[in-house]
C-alpha cells in the first residue's frame, strides 16, 4: 500500500487501510474527541508520536514483559520443585519396593547348599 506512493504526485494525499483492535480503536476515538481533531489529522499526530517514541515504548514494554516473566518464572520454579520431587520420590519408592521384594524372594528361596 505504501509502496504505491511512488507512483503518485508529490504532496498528493495517500489513503491507507489500517486495522485497529477494539481497545486501540476506542482510545483513538477518545483522542479524537478530546483534541477535537478530524480522524486524519489525529491519525497523523498519533503516528508521528508513535514513531518518535518507538524505542522508549519498546523499552517500557520490555520492562513490563520482564517483570511478568520474572513472576511467571518464580511460579514455574516453585511448581517444578514440587512436581520434580513427586516424580523422583515415586521412582525412589518403586525401586525401594522392587529391592525389598527381591530380598524377600531371595530369603524365601531354598538354600543351594
Amino acid at each position: 500500500m505504501l509502496g504505491r506512493i511512488f507512483g503518485k504526485k508529490k504532496c498528493a494525499p495517500v489513503t491507507i487501510d489500517v486495522c485497529l483492535d477494539r481497545a486501540a480503536n476506542d482510545r483513538f476515538r477518545a483522542f479524537i474527541e478530546k483534541n477535537g481533531l478530524d480522524e486524519n489529522t489525529a491519525f497523523a499526530q498519533v503516528l508521528e508520536r508513535g514513531m518518535a517514541n518507538y524505542w522508549v515504548q519498546v523499552f517500557k514494554q520490555l520492562r513490563q514483559n520482564y517483570s511478568l516473566l520474572e513472576r511467571a518464572s518464580k511460579e514455574y520454579s516453585k511448581d517444578n520443585e514440587v512436581l520434580s520431587e513427586l516424580e523422583q520420590q515415586t521412582d525412589r519408592l518403586r525401586s525401594f519396593l522392587e529391592m525389598k521384594l527381591h530380598e524377600k524372594t531371595l530369603s524365601t528361596r531354598p538354600s543351594m547348599k
Partner: protein, 165 residues
C-alpha cells in the same frame, strides 16, 4: 489535509455480554478497519521507518498507533529515555536469560503434568503398599498426599492447556 471517513465501520451490532476471559479477549481482538488519508511525506517517512525496523505495514502501523496513544506525559517519557539509555542493554540480556529459564521450567512442568494423574496414583499406591507390608517406616508424607482433583486440574490448566480451560 483531506478528511476521509470512507470505509469506516460505524455499525453497532448488539453482542452478548462476554462471560468468560476467552470471549473477552477475542472480543478485544475484533478489528476495526479504518481508511486514513495521510500526506505523502508522512507516508514516505512511515515507509522508511517500517523498513528500518523490519516491521510489516499490517502489524507496524497499529503498533505505532498504540505507542502514539500511550498516556505518558513528556516528563514520563524523558524519565523512560534516561532509564533506557542506562538499562536497555542489561535488560535485554536479563530478559533473554529469564525467557530461556522460564521456557525450560515450563516445558519440564508440562512433561510432568502430562502424567500427573498416573504419577500421583502410583505414588499413593506405593506408599500404601510399603506401609501395609511394613517395608518402610515411616512412610514419607508430602503435600501431594492430600491433593484433590482441583489441584491437578489447575496444573493441567496452567501447563497443558495454557489457561485455556
Amino acid at each position: 489535509m483531506k478528511a476521509s471517513i470512507r470505509g469506516l465501520h460505524r455499525k453497532k451490532v448488539a453482542q452478548p455480554k462476554s462471560t468468560d476471559l476467552i470471549t473477552a479477549v477475542e472480543k478485544n481482538r475484533e478489528e476495526r478497519h479504518l481508511k486514513i488519508t495521510i500526506q505523502t511525506d508522512l507516508a514516505e517517512k512511515l515507509r522508511k521507518f517500517l523498513k528500518e525496523k523490519a516491521l510489516s505495514e499490517r502489524w507496524g502501523v497499529p503498533l505505532l498507533i498504540e505507542y502514539g496513544l500511550s498516556d505518558e506525559t513528556e516528563k514520563d517519557l524523558d524519565e523512560l529515555k534516561s532509564d533506557m539509555q542506562s538499562q536497555m542493554r542489561e535488560l535485554w540480556r536479563k530478559y533473554a536469560l529469564m525467557k530461556f529459564k522460564a521456557y525450560g521450567l515450563f516445558t519440564e512442568n508440562t512433561r510432568i503434568t502430562m502424567k500427573l494423574n498416573m504419577l500421583l496414583s502410583e505414588n499413593w499406591s506405593l506408599k500404601k503398599r510399603l506401609k501395609d507390608e511394613r517395608l518402610l517406616d515411616p512412610v514419607p508424607s508430602n503435600e501431594w498426599d492430600g491433593w484433590s482433583n482441583t489441584v491437578t486440574e489447575n496444573y493441567y490448566r496452567k501447563y497443558v492447556c495454557n489457561n485455556r480451560l
